[in-house]
């Protein structure tokens, strides 16, 4: 009989939910396409030598002057839309993962240390976090992005600022539960240093809920980034993420050239829905109350 590790049990339970399994495959596929963009995309959309103005705003299926089919049509500057979407996904994913990742680290650190130190420090930190959570993330990100101006670093900072509080709250909840347990007491009486107890004992045990929040927050970072770029306070036009592509197509939407906005939007939603479905499934599996 095969040995069952917690990981293999987790995976087999995960794949028994067909929707979640399909969503996970879609997520992996999109990530792979985004990473391999230069190999997969039919055209390098940002090589100006490739752009022919006569090909601009052509409907899906149009055969361009360079002799290949633009399956999803072309945008206002004659770019192959499929290639633009693939490159846009790459930028969106990069933003989401970098911002989500840093927010994860900051939030986990703040939340865990607040729970560990306790006392006035804890109540002050958590008061600030709660105050921040009472404002919607979109508003915070919007204000920060507006104050800092356009640019990728500014945008990443805005996203981190808007999101770290969610991680901090989750980490705090998990860590204060772990703090009470006997193994922490035991580790401290060995004695191990405080840093070591926090990093090697409390943090790993608080990870599962953080991972759930992580998948959802990466999805929401991507959505936030798209919204900010759409409103014109996100990335500069030189880095066209999906949000920017949709914004560029908005003006043509009213004249019936739907594809410039619609297809980037579908790519965006497919990605976000899949990520959320994966997050939901992980959450359900980690929640003992829902186990029957």
């Amino acid at each position: 009989m095969r040995e069952t590790t917690p990981l293999s049990r987790f995976l087999s339970e995960f794949s028994s939910n067909r929707t979640a399994a399909i969503a996970a495959v879609v997520v992996l596929l999109i990530v792979a396409i985004a990473i391999l963009a230069p190999l997969v995309a039919p055209q390098d959309p940002y090589d100006l030598a490739n752009l022919v103005l006569r090909d601009a705003r052509r409907p899906p299926g149009y055969v361009g002057t360079q002799g290949y089919v633009h399956w999803l049509g072309t945008d206002s500057q004659g770019r192959d839309l499929l290639s633009a979407i693939i490159y846009g996904l790459r930028i969106s994913l990069e933003m989401g993962v970098i911002a989500g990742g840093i927010a994860f680290l900051i939030g986990a650190f703040v939340g865990t240390s607040a729970a560990y130190v306790g006392g006035r420090f804890e109540s002050l930190i958590m008061r600030i976090i709660d105050l921040q959570l009472s404002f919607p993330a979109i508003l915070l990100a919007f204000v920060i992005a507006a104050m800092l101006g356009q640019g990728r670093y500014q945008l990443i900072m805005a996203l981190i600022f808007a999101q770290y509080a969610y991680f901090a709250r989750t980490a705090h909840g998990a860590a204060s539960a772990e703090r009470q347990k006997d193994y922490v007491e035991a580790a401290l009486s060995v004695p191990l240093s405080h840093t070591r107890v926090v990093l090697k004992h409390i943090l790993p045990n608080s990870l599962p809920p953080l991972i759930v929040v992580g998948t959802v927050q990466v999805a929401s970072a991507i959505s936030l980034e798209a919204t900010l770029s759409f409103l014109g306070v996100g990335l500069p036009p030189t880095e066209p993420s999906l949000g920017m592509l949709i914004a560029n197509g908005f003006q043509y939407l009213l004249s019936g050239r739907y594809w410039i906005s619609i297809y980037p939007g579908i790519a965006l939603i497919l990605f976000i829905v899949s990520l959320n479905l994966v997050g939901d499934q992980i959450r359900d599996q980690l929640n003992p109350r829902l186990r029957r």
Binding site: F135, I138, G149, L231, I246, F250, G265
Partner: protein
């Protein structure tokens, strides 16, 4: 109860003060408003006059104290761009935003909660599964893209709905409202639907999760044993028991709906506060930005306060514990 209310009020005032410092520093520490106000070829005299007029030559803390003093008197300063008092500017835009937000939140709650209760009452029926699929989609679709879809389907393809603006308005107590005319209602429908989608999905989820838990409780068993109809059980007992998280979220979401109104108003060119803030950010119109942020902060603090008090009213245990 009185102590509790006073304590909360005191906290709220401290938070507002802290917010005012943050917002002021954040907005005034970046960029240079003088460049926006005066054309580059203006003479030094004009420059100095304008700087003195707006108090931009004083140290930051003096600017802040002056700002705070005027704030208490309800004077938010003068808009750099519109050249009118900010308070008037905001007051003239507020009704449009409030109308849109309230319509969206009402729709989300009045439709979302019954649907959610049904989905929780019959969790395994195909209809409930479809409802949940819609709600997952509603969570994931970015507000701005859903707005684009609405415009494309109803304004461009079928041409039966207007794509933007407020339409014909009718004055009520001297304030223009769209929902009083047929044309205005048509203009209101798509933006409100757009804004409502996220809350709608959230209400469905919360109501469903709450109902699923409450249906297993003794309350429901006894109510059924007493011979009450299923409808009475749901509307009298279940709805009451799940109402606490719903009220919290309703309150908090009222605020976040205002934040998302920025997106919806931009897409549907709805002349409200959100459009004003976007315009003021691009033109670096600081007094307007500061006033808007303070207003939103104030709104959130008031909402949190009201939600806390509503808690105490809805749940007798909290009332006793906190008094």
């Amino acid at each position: 109860m009185l102590v509790f209310v006073l304590q909360r009020l005191w906290q709220a005032i401290v938070v507002i003060l802290a917010m005012s410092v943050l917002v002021f520093c954040g907005v005034y520490a970046v960029g240079n408003p003088i460049d926006v106000l005066i054309s580059p070829d203006a003479t030094q005299d004009i420059r100095a006059a304008v700087i003195a007029q707006y108090g931009l030559d004083l140290p930051l803390w003096q600017q802040y104290l002056g700002f705070l003093g005027r704030l208490i008197q309800g004077d938010f300063g003068h808009s750099f761009v519109y050249n009118m008092p900010v308070s008037d500017l905001i007051l003239s835009r507020l009704p449009a935003t409030l109308e849109l937000t309230l319509t969206a939140v009402m729709f989300a709650s009045l439709v979302g909660i019954p649907i959610g209760i049904y989905a929780g009452y019959r969790p395994h029926s195909p209809v409930s599964r479809a409802i949940m699929a819609v709600s997952i989609l509603g969570f994931s679709v970015p507000t701005f893209w859903f707005g684009l879809m609405l415009i494309m389907l109803f304004a461009v393809q079928c041409g039966c709905m207007p794509a933007g603006g407020r339409g014909e308005t009718l004055d009520l107590f001297g304030v223009p409202f769209s929902f009083l005319t047929l044309d205005g209602m048509q203009h209101l429908l798509l933006p409100a639907l757009n804004l409502a989608l996220f809350k709608f999905s959230l209400m469905i989820r919360l109501a469903r999760a709450g109902t699923r838990e409450v249906m297993l409780s003794d309350t429901v068993k006894f109510a059924r044993a007493a011979g009450l109809s299923e409808f009475t059980v749901l509307s009298r007992h279940v709805l009451r028991l799940i109402s606490i998280p719903l009220v919290t979220v309703f309150g908090l979401e009222l605020g976040s709906t205002l934040a998302f109104a920025v997106v919806t108003e931009t897409i549907f060119s709805w002349p409200g506060l959100g459009k004003l803030i976007i315009d003021s950010i691009t033109s670096l119109d600081r007094p307007v930005m500061v006033a808007y942020l303070m207003l939103v902060a104030l709104l959130f603090i008031v909402i949190n306060l009201v939600v806390d008090l509503a808690y105490a009213l809805l749940d007798p245990r909290l009332r006793k514990g906190r008094a």
